[in-house]
């Protein structure tokens, strides 16, 4: 009974003793993704992707540590035979791991991703522009020597798999909903029906005066002004303020996806702010007078009265 208990207690300890984690710099978790993804477009094709690995309990390594990129899913060893082959971008000799090496950095050029070379055996190095959209995965593995099964027993792999997404397709522009307010236009943005919401990084909005007092647009060049900065997809709304009620404004919206592609043509809508009557306007329209501390005379005497009352109460308390 006791040895069984000891074995049960030992099992988890053995399972968590060896780890390998790989981090890709700038990779983020967004949308419904569980693991980090680094997205880039054609402009990032020749740039370096950097990262690091960290391992624990690898001093019994009997094979070199390999890190590679696959076009499919991560296996225990890289695919070097079936096209497109995996691209091995980092190798660390077993001797260094046995000697105590636990971390290191790496770097490779984005253009080596196997996704660029579907059908080829060279593991990439083709033109980035030849494909439009794919996701590759960063894998790693090292085998440990165990007393019972030698150098075939324990393969240590990362539990978090980083994705590398190449996306060179501009997203569709957003759908825009305008709510006319008093001297303002409220602009709400949502992804086009064909664009997955998780692919939207942010929106851009700009506006221009198109015609005054409800007049007809003369077709002239409109001078657009950006508003709202990078508008987060999670709260995709912006108010355009200080407008003139009755004037017609042109509003344009662009979508920027997670790979920083900007929609090529914007969605363009028009809107006019309108006069509205709130509670205070109703009060004044019904003959209400301005008055009271803070917005006119009349408050000071009352403040003095309240102060005197307070002083009286406090004086009585002390007495």
């Amino acid at each position: 009974m006791r040895p069984l208990l000891a074995a049960l207690l030992l099992l988890p300890a053995v399972g968590t003793a060896q780890t390998l984690s790989v981090t890709i710099n700038s990779a983020i978790t967004y949308g419904t993704n569980v693991n980090p993804v680094l997205a880039f477009n054609a402009s990032g094709c020749s740039s370096n992707i950097t990262g690091s690995w960290t391992g624990t309990g690898l001093t019994t390594a009997c094979t070199s540590l390999q890190l590679w990129i696959t076009n499919t899913t991560c296996a225990a060893t890289p695919n070097t035979t079936v096209a497109p082959v995996d691209y091995i971008f980092y190798t660390q000799a077993a001797g260094n791991l046995v000697g105590g090496l636990t971390t290191d950095t790496f770097s490779f050029t984005a253009s080596v991703l196997p996704g660029f070379a579907a059908g080829a055996l060279d593991g990439g190095n083709t033109s980035c522009g030849s494909v439009s959209d794919f996701t590759n995965y960063v894998c790693g593995a090292v085998t440990l020597n165990t007393a019972t099964s030698g150098c075939t027993g324990t393969v240590v792999q990362p539990t978090t798999i980083n994705g590398l997404r190449y996306d060179n397709v501009p997203p569709d522009p957003p759908t825009i909903n305008i709510v006319p307010l008093d001297s303002q236009l409220s602009v709400r943005l949502s992804p086009d029906a064909l664009t997955p919401v998780v692919d939207v990084q942010y929106y851009l909005v700009q506006y221009a005066l198109q015609s005054t007092d409800g007049g007809t647009y003369d077709g002239g060049t409109l001078n657009y002004t950006p508003v709202g900065g990078n508008i987060a997809a999670s709260n995709a709304a912006v108010s355009i303020s200080n407008l003139v009620n009755g004037d017609v404004y042109s509003i344009q919206g662009f979508t920027v996806d997670e790979a920083s592609n900007v929609s090529t043509t914007p969605t363009t809508v028009t809107g006019s702010p309108v006069m509205t009557t709130g509670f205070y306007a109703n009060y004044l329209n019904d003959g209400g007078q301005v008055g009271g501390c803070g917005d006119s005379a009349g408050g000071a005497p009352s403040a003095l009265a309240l102060g005197a009352l307070l002083a009286l109460v406090l004086a009585r308390r002390r007495g």
Binding site: N282, Y283, Q289, G291, S302, V313
Partner: protein, 236 residues
């Protein structure tokens, strides 16, 4: 003679009274009462000087604002009743759609927000509970009030012809209330609460308030109202 008659009547109705009539209410420790209250408040905006309609109803309908507040009372005499000072701060807001020129609702909200602050002298007739063991505490308050207020339209303070819809109204007000001392429901728990947490009593209460927040009749919006509040109180 009259006193004896009253005592005998009370003695029949409330046996505990018979044992305590001979004892004058002894001096009790000064205590602090914290009240948490809720009520419905509809300001008398239509009674503002110069107003011909009812701007509140025109904007929000005939629907009161939900008001929530906290009050702290502190006694400076606690013998034949509880005489002290109370300070309360409440909050109430009401929102509706602002109206377009044709009277239909627009896409933006308009609101009225008030923050009633009351500083009152308070008297609580807790003799009934402490001497006669009748768990009822009638009380009254009277004092000064200050009502910071502001309006809102489209997410910012409403401004009409350069006049900001916000300010501060003063006045006076009073309260009449009745609290039910809860100790009798579970005397042993009440005793434990007293010994462990220093809470002498729990109360449920209801009260009628009338505030005259109109700068004593001066120009400007009248935010006074007669309203009921209900809540829970703890006496420390």
């Amino acid at each position: 003679m009259k006193k004896a008659l009253l005592a005998s009547i009370l003695g029949v109705a409330f046996p505990a009274f018979a044992q305590s009539t001979t004892q004058a209410p002894s001096s009790l420790p000064n205590t602090t009462i914290v009240e948490l209250k809720l009520g419905f408040y509809q300001p008398r905006v239509k009674d503002s000087p110069g107003v011909t309609g009812d701007p509140y109803v025109e904007t929000f309908g005939n629907s009161a604002m939900l008001l929530g507040g906290v009050e702290v009372d502190r006694s400076f005499y606690h013998g034949y009743g509880y005489l002290g000072l109370s300070v309360s701060v409440s909050y109430a807001e009401k929102y509706a759609k602002a109206l377009l020129a044709d009277g239909t609702p627009s896409g933006e909200a308009t609101g009225l927000i008030v923050l009633p602050i009351r500083v009152m002298a308070v008297y609580r007739y807790d003799v009934l509970a402490h001497v006669f063991h009748i768990p009822l505490v009638p009380y009254a308050e009277i004092g000064g009030i200050a009502y910071p207020w502001w309006t809102n339209k489209g997410g910012m303070t409403e401004t009409v012809d350069g006049q900001k819809g916000s300010g501060l109204r003063f006045g006076w007000g009073f309260t009449a209330g009745l609290a039910l001392e809860m100790d009798f429901l579970n005397p042993s728990y009440a005793r434990e609460a007293r010994e462990d947490s220093g809470i002498y009593h729990f109360y449920l209460f209801g009260e009628f308030n009338d505030d005259f927040a109109n700068n004593f009749g001066a120009a400007g919006i009248n935010l006074g109202a007669a309203y009921f509040t209900f809540g829970l109180a703890f006496e420390f």
